[in-house]
């Protein structure tokens, strides 16, 4: 074989394998979107219906248009409150992420410049993230019930703040480490105090990093299921928990509605994730991978 032939063969193999995985990745997403436009008879048809011949918006209308006005579509249940869940998810994830990144950034600055946490302590901080939440949510729900934080936005914000802090500290530290110390020294000579140096020199330099950290943690918080599932009942229900409510007692799961809601939950997240794709490896590796 000549070199070009070999290269061509390489390319064929490469594109074939990559395309197979591409199809595996896209198929479930396609199925979710397709189901959201299917009338109920097509949800579990055999042979499978890949794209309905009578596409319908009724699933979306039922979820987002208010179940009451669409009682002609069955499975309308008054316990479903997608708008409350949307509002809760937005408030909880934005506030807890904001708190996590801002406090995390100040801790990270301290670690990077003054070693306020030793290397060992920094690694111990990871425990907050790595211990499986299931071991503590039971007692936590009893404790929350006792102090009145159960089923409240505050309770969820607090726990998300704690569990995402390791990511916030590690990720922002990886950005702060890259800021040349000379910048700060120059500001110090000009008489800036530490607060000014941090907020007006360091943070502006790493603002794209801070934004990436914010969006990364937002993705994690928005998708979280277990803690929200256990610490919420009716008032503080988030979108992932709301999904489970599209289930009739006799009909089983209401797949079309679930798919319609799923599309709404997932698409914004995918868009956010793709915009920060260059920082995802840094985020998921706690800033240990920096490229």
């Amino acid at each position: 074989m000549t070199k070009t032939q070999k290269q061509n063969l390489d390319n064929v193999v490469r594109y074939t394998l990559l395309t197979i995985w591409l199809l595996i990745v896209l198929f479930p997403l396609f199925w979710m979107v397709a189901t959201s436009f299917k009338p109920d008879k097509d949800w579990l048809a055999w042979p499978p219906v890949y794209w309905s011949e009578e596409p319908t918006m009724s699933n979306y209308n039922n979820v987002w248009g208010g179940a009451m006005e669409h009682t002609e579509t069955q499975y309308a249940q008054s316990i479903q409150k997608p708008f409350t869940a949307l509002k809760n998810s937005t408030i909880i994830s934005f506030i807890s992420t904001f708190l996590s990144v801002s406090f995390g950034a100040f801790i990270a600055y301290g670690v990077s410049r003054y070693k306020v946490l030793s290397e060992t302590r920094m690694f111990q901080l990871l425990m907050l993230r790595m211990v499986p939440p299931i071991v503590l949510v039971g007692p936590l729900s009893l404790y929350y019930t006792t102090i009145g934080l159960i089923d409240s936005l505050t309770g969820l914000i607090a726990i998300y703040f704690i569990t995402t802090l390791p990511y916030a500290v590690w990720m922002t530290k990886s950005f702060i480490d890259e800021v040349p110390i000379e910048l700060e020294q120059a500001a110090e000579i000009m008489g800036a105090n530490r607060w000014t140096i941090i907020t007006e020199v360091v943070f502006p330099v790493i603002r794209s990093g801070l934004l990436a950290t914010f969006l990364f943690i937002l993705i994690l918080t928005w998708s979280e299921y277990l803690v929200a599932f256990i610490l919420s009942k009716t008032d503080a229900v988030t979108l992932p928990v709301e999904l489970a409510k599209y289930e009739g007692s006799s009909e089983g799961r209401v797949y079309g509605r679930q798919a319609a809601l799923s599309v709404g939950i997932t698409i914004p997240l995918i868009i956010v994730g793709i915009t920060i794709r260059k920082h995802l490896a840094r985020g998921f590796s706690f800033g240990m991978i920096r490229k």
Partner: protein, 306 residues
């Protein structure tokens, strides 16, 4: 006062200030929950009691009960097996894709964007979507049947021998992107000179891979494996939403078993004792993992500095 002394004081003050929210929230939120967990493991709490404070002292009986519970032992082994299998699956696929893709080629950006989508998808959404796809008369079997040319009606969900494997497949779909992006970054940061030198000397591609690239990548590989394994130990939404531990007890991993004991059997004390043991076990595993990461982190920094 000397300048250095002032600096030292300032540093101390800063330290106190920034660590306060962290320590306060740990003490106010996690602390009481931890104490309550320990309390419940020694005092029998049932939903018929007036409240958790009115539980009955059982000394070590609850722990003994849990330690001899075979279902608990099996769940621990199942969880470890699940985490191991899905970690390896994610890594093999993620690394494989990264090896196919790390050299620049047309459409690289396109494949990269598509390949990261699964890890951006909400896990519970994956579970509900997968359930539709995995029904015995669902699209996956439909597609397999048309590829094979005869009816393939695999019981992905209802066969107890397959169910856990199905969860592993979902986990791999969900998290192969994690290994993929980390290994892409790792391969991109490898120094080019050793590979080029070996090529000039006539080394084969396989030899270059095993003797040059793989050793250089080792710290990053360890990182990808360790982090994924720890996350897989905590997996709950996908296992729970479709299977609730079933069929039978075939998908009863640690998180599912603790959940069942607490909210289905209302055996809070047993669940608390289990949680306590699992927590100790995880702390040991995590400390080992952290130890490994701390060592490898220095090497990763070296590789990245190139």
């Amino acid at each position: 006062m000397a300048r250095s002394e002032i600096m030292l004081q300032r540093t101390k003050r800063y330290k106190k200030m920034v660590l306060f929210p962290l320590i306060a929230s740990i003490m106010l939120i996690l602390g009481p929950a931890l104490i309550l967990q320990l309390y419940l493991s020694f005092n029998y709490y049932s939903i018929y009691s007036e409240g958790w404070w009115a539980s009955e002292w059982y000394a070590l009986d609850i722990f003994k009960d849990v330690m001899t519970d075979e279902r608990f032992h099996v769940a621990i082994i199942r969880s470890l097996g699940f985490a191991l299998a899905s970690t390896i699956g994610c890594f093999v696929i993620g690394f494989g894709l990264a090896l196919l893709m790390y050299k620049n080629f047309r459409l690289q950006w396109f494949y990269y964007i598509i390949f990261i989508i699964p890890m951006l998808t909400v896990p519970i959404v994956i579970a509900y979507t997968a359930e539709m796809i995995l029904y015995q008369k669902g699209p996956l079997n439909g597609i397999l049947s048309s590829i094979v040319g005869r009816d393939m009606l695999i019981m992905w969900i209802t066969n107890p021998d397959i169910a856990l494997f199905t969860v592993v497949l979902m986990e791999i779909w969900n998290w192969a992107p994690f290994s993929f992006i980390i290994m892409m970054a790792g391969l991109a940061s490898l120094p080019k000179e050793p590979v080029e030198a070996a090529q000039i000397l006539g080394a084969s591609r396989i030899k270059i891979f095993f003797e040059i690239q793989l050793p250089l990548l080792r710290p990053i590989i360890v990182l990808a494996l360790v982090l994924r394994f720890l996350e897989a130990m905590a997996e709950f939404p996908k296992t729970w939403a479709i299977f609730q531990g079933g069929p039978g007890t075939s998908t009863e991993t640690i998180p599912v078993l603790i959940y069942l004991n607490t909210w289905y059997y209302f055996d809070w004390s047993k669940a608390a004792a289990m949680s306590y043991i699992v927590m100790l076990m995880m702390v040991v595993i995590i400390l080992t993992a952290i130890n490994i990461l701390q060592k490898e982190n220095k090497r990763i920094a070296q590789v990245q500095a190139n």
